[in-house]
Symmetry: C2
Subunit: 352 residues, 2 copies
């Protein structure tokens, strides 16, 4: 058994491989977490679209079906005041008409970590708690830390990584702009300055004291090995797991992963997130100023999306994917995890 | 002496190290090429802003001062018809007023490779000819190939790489969106779909038959090693060489390389290029629809830039830089080349 060149993440978390199955709210759940854990990854449950009771139930299911450390992921955005979204609804009006639905406030909003969720963490005691869009207020963060959970933050810039390091997180995700789903930027950086993983990862690795987890555009064992060469102590893969049958995404979404085309859109939630363009993006363009602030844009879209999906049209909901989507293999998540680790270790151990 | 894990580029070109000193029109020339070649890199002369006579003179100087293979780089854009640039001049009017200059058609335009330049290539016989923004018309390309020069094309997407491969180039640059200077995209891809090197490089490497040269965000030996892990047979570095004293850039530009902030702008030429924001970008925003098509925007800007630089203000000219600019070291280009190669080889040869 060859060692990984940086063992710090493994020593910290205790999973078999330095691979995190990325939490993907709306596109992953118990089955994927259980399968990834069976393969030796750190399994993750995305909790930002769940109620407290749903989190408790899902954690119980995972604990009953899998061994090893578990990561619960939460969002830390500030909820905006309810905006005047009349311009957004007006932009969507042709779709209300087409699908014969009314604007309402349906769908599940992405909500930030709060005292109720913190109490769940204190009860269910996940080994790892990860946060997107910054960190919760310090009283909540202190409570999480006191449970013994390792806290992971997400950085899209070197400044964000330093900010997280100074607040005592246990590890930091370096999220390259290649990543599928929402960019976690939170310190007001200009989206035009988004950084690719190739440049971001070594600079974050140099800047912080804690283990760094590479994320974004990592599609296979080569990329995992390259991430370690650039200073990573672990990797976080989301899109690679979307190919797995345990991932609850539509067949339409899964089929389109083999295309290389992805882009940032704010139409689905109001926040910038990378995905495969579908009908809504094709027709409106990927970024519209009419979309209200994250996460509120999803509400007015929800009835259209639900109706469209009943007709087999998936272009009104997110089809998140990162830029390495086409490199994915259709394997079960456990086998995929083991194969990714073996491929990376073979490259890392062979030398030149 | 340890071998590189992929020797194909070295076998093809015959330089000592699989490192190309990137041609940077306006920011590199004879001195940098000579120094990089002395260190074992493939030296490059950017010819897209030179006259035929200037190319002949510079090649003679390099041949007199350096041994080893030389790359001449040319642009292959289609020159647009002279546009109505009155909106662009109106946007710049406050700067004409401030600096007391008139709009004229000054400055040096970036021009495409043509029959006259092809005759120069046939005369001076560079070992390598590289093209940006596609390839020249097939009659010109055939003439270049018949000189025995190895032709290198530049791809920003997998489709562009396949297109270049099908036209018989000898090697392909995979230019990640991290790269400083102009993105070479030429097949009409949407800039919003620009790919990071981490995802682009392995997918191009899988898609083409010829050696792949990684470019964009490669700042040090770690990154060179990682590029080889992702399928590269060589690397092309521009920004890393901007720190070198042989590079003819302003002190203001060089000093700001240590900042991590770069973004794409079209203000300098009309084409999208990554650089460090200065006064013009800060005041107008980085991308303006008033800027005429590449390369024409530079003409109306030229008198303002010249006057501003006489006052020590460099924010009206390009300060190109890639996203790994802050990783650079202030070393002579020869020593830098040797150190980059040694650092990469040490990583590649140690295994896990």
């Amino acid at each position: 058994m060859v060692d990984w060149p940086d063992q710090r993440f493994l020593d910290l978390v205790g999973c078999e491989y330095p691979i995190i199955q990325a939490p993907m709210a709306g596109a992953s759940g118990v089955d994927l977490g259980v399968a990834a854990m069976a393969g030796g990854a750190l399994g993750s449950l995305p909790c930002g679209m769940l109620s407290a009771d749903q989190v408790r139930t899902q954690v119980s299911e995972v604990r009953a079906r899998a061994n090893g450390p578990l990561n619960l992921n939460f969002f830390c955005h500030t909820m905006p005041a309810d905006p005047d979204d009349s311009a957004w609804r007006a932009l969507l009006q042709p779709y209300y008409d087409e699908f014969g639905v009314e604007a309402d406030n349906g769908g599940t909003l992405r909500l930030p970590f709060d005292a109720e969720m913190c109490a769940v963490v204190e009860d269910v005691r996940p080994e790892v708690v990860s946060f997107h869009f910054g960190l919760p207020a310090s009283d909540l963060l202190d409570r999480v830390t006191r449970t013994g959970a390792i806290v992971i933050g997400n950085a899209t810039t070197i400044a964000e990584a330093r900010w997280l390091d100074s607040r005592g997180v246990g590890a930091i995700v370096a999220q390259g702009f290649e990543a599928g789903g929402h960019t976690g930027h939170f310190l007001g950086s200009d989206p035009a300055e988004a950084m690719g993983l190739f440049a971001l990862l070594p600079q974050i690795s140099d800047a912080v004291s804690v283990p760094v987890i590479a994320a974004g555009g990592i599609g296979d064992g080569r990329a995992i090995a390259a991430a370690f060469t650039l200073g990573a102590s672990a990797v976080q893969l989301g899109t690679a797991y979307l190919h797995a049958p345990e991932t609850p995404i539509s067949d339409a979404h899964r089929a389109r992963l083999k295309e290389a085309r992805t882009l940032f859109t704010n139409l689905m939630t109001g926040g910038l997130a990378r995905g495969i363009p579908g009908r809504l993006i094709d027709e409106l363009g990927p970024v519209k100023s009419e979309a209200p602030t994250y996460p509120l844009a999803s509400a007015a879209l929800a009835p259209i999306r639900a109706a469209a999906e009943r007709h087999g049209e998936f272009g009104f909901g997110p089809m998140w994917a990162g830029q390495a989507a086409a490199l994915g293999q259709r394997l079960g998540a456990a086998e995929l995890t083991r194969r990714l680790a073996a491929d990376a270790l073979a490259i890392l151990s062979r030398g030149a």
